[in-house]
Amino acid sequence: MYSERVMDHFMNPRNMGEIPDADGVGEVGNPACGDIMRITLRIEEDRIVDAKFKTFGCAAAIASSSMATELIQGKTLEEALAVTNKAVAEALEGLPPQKLHCSVLAEEGIHKAIEDYRTRHGAPEANGG
């Protein structure tokens, strides 16, 4: 059902944890639906120097958060905002159709964390957030 890449990121998640006093925090999902992602970012000069996640959810949700945080490490905020759910799913060598919403959630989590940073730092609104 899952690609090897998904299983690898599920069994050995990258960037798992929470950045203390993070510069941006994005929590998305709903426990009733069975998925919650919490993305925390360390941002220096508009660049993501660290990204971590905590996720309640299935293997696809955990792997999507792991991959999404990998994809945005070291990226500028604009570059990170351009990372789509499709890019996350492709990097995972695909997700089953009923699990694509997990990659959407990862994209939303990143957008929300960047928005949170920009709101707190009085910067302009995130594009497409």
Partner: protein
């Protein structure tokens, strides 16, 4: 069973010697199924499985009694074979009462009595639940239905071989069973229909199964089913207490050693092979995949393993909030499981839960 695929391949509906032999074999299998549930052989009809048997019982009784009434009483925690059959009938204008269950998943017999009206034509309550293992008060419900002259169907797919079943003492008029639940072949099952029960045909065609279920019989399947049910019932007095002891140890030690965990289903009125627990802050599919990587096959009521993205209707009906239902784990014991298997599960489960809780943002100890 195997010879029926090769040298003894006769079609029981034909007249040649090989066919007569197949017919004898088929009837022997029918007798074994009947004996297992206290029925007469001519009340046993082979089907393609439990799902077909449930469909036939519900839709067949509904169709044959349409002039008499249009109301069916069932429970909220039935298998989808029953629930979706009822939903299909609702679309045709029938009315269905889905009785609630208590926190342990039990149907209150008094609620069945209250739900019955002058137009009720069928009561259908499962003998034991497939997810949480709760055993229903079938004999009490059967007595109520019998007093009101209403046919009583029970989905006994999970119960056969696990608890004693007797259609007469339980007041059952229709009973669905499935071969692969007691080590018979997949794609085999049967419907018990008490004599004189008004029921329509489900499969139309040839005169097989005394004209009530058309289609050339799955002779090897029926033979496998017959032998399997005979063994399951014969071994039950030895197997059931052994499995129940392993079940109780699993439940006790999981609840004792892993915090924020609860038992789903009934503590006592429970199938001997069923363990179902909910772990807070983690999701069931993740638990299953980690257990699978450790060689343990289990299942969950989490939405994430279903296409519908809805958590288990059974756990929800028991009043479990969705976020707890998502973290449910079902372990089913088989007759070959040993105390060492239980030790192994217990030795790895707490680590799996701990690991997933570390990843979870819901865990208050983060």
């Amino acid at each position: 069973m195997l010879p029926c695929f090769s040298e003894r391949f006769g079609n029981p509906s034909s007249v040649y010697a090989l066919a007569r032999e197949a017919q004898v074999t088929l009837e022997k299998a029918r007798g074994r199924v009947a004996a297992a549930i206290g029925a007469n052989p001519e009340e046993i009809f082979f089907t393609s499985g439990g799902t077909e048997a449930d469909n036939w019982a519900i839709k067949g009784v509904a169709a044959a009694n349409r002039k008499k009434g249009d109301h069916i009483v069932t429970s909220a925690i039935e298998h989808h074979a029953v629930l979706h059959s009822c939903r299909a009938l609702e679309k045709q204008g029938y009315r269905v009462t889905y009785l609630p269950v208590d926190a342990f998943g039990r149907v209150e017999p008094g609620a069945v009595e209250e739900a019955i009206t002058d137009t009720t034509i069928l009561v259908s309550v499962m003998a034991a639940n497939n997810e949480i293992g709760t055993i229903q008060p079938i004999a009490a419900i059967g007595e109520i239905a019998r007093d009101r002259g209403i046919p009583f169907h029970t989905d006994a797919v999970q119960a056969i071989g696990a608890i004693p079943i007797d259609v007469d003492s339980m007041g059952v008029d229709l009973l669905a069973l499935s071969g692969h639940k007691f080590y018979g072949p997949k794609g085999t099952g049967a419907l018990y229909i008490r004599k004189k029960t008004r029921i329509g045909t489900f499969m139309d065609g040839g005169a097989q199964e005394r004209g009530r279920r058309a289609g050339t019989e799955n002779v090897p399947g029926a033979v496998g089913l017959g032998r399997a049910i005979e063994l399951a019932v014969a071994e039950m007095p030895e197997n059931a207490p052994r499995l129940a002891a392993m079940r109780d140890r699993l439940i006790r030690e999981i609840l004792e050693t892993i915090p924020d965990t609860r038992l789903n289903g009934h503590p006592v009125e429970r199938l001997p092979n069923n363990v179902n627990v909910a772990f807070r802050y983690v999701e069931g599919e993740s638990i299953l995949l980690m257990l699978d990587s450790l060689g343990i096959a289990a299942s969950t009521g989490s939405a994430c393993t279903s296409a519908s993205l809805e958590p288990s209707h059974v756990l929800t009906a028991c009043g479990l909030p969705p976020e707890h239902a998502h973290g449910s784990l079902r372990l089913t014991l088989g007759s070959r499981n040993t105390d060492e298997d239980v030790d192994y599960v217990l030795s790895v489960l707490s680590r799996v839960i701990e690991r997933l809780r570390k990843i979870s943002p819901l865990n208050p100890e983060r």
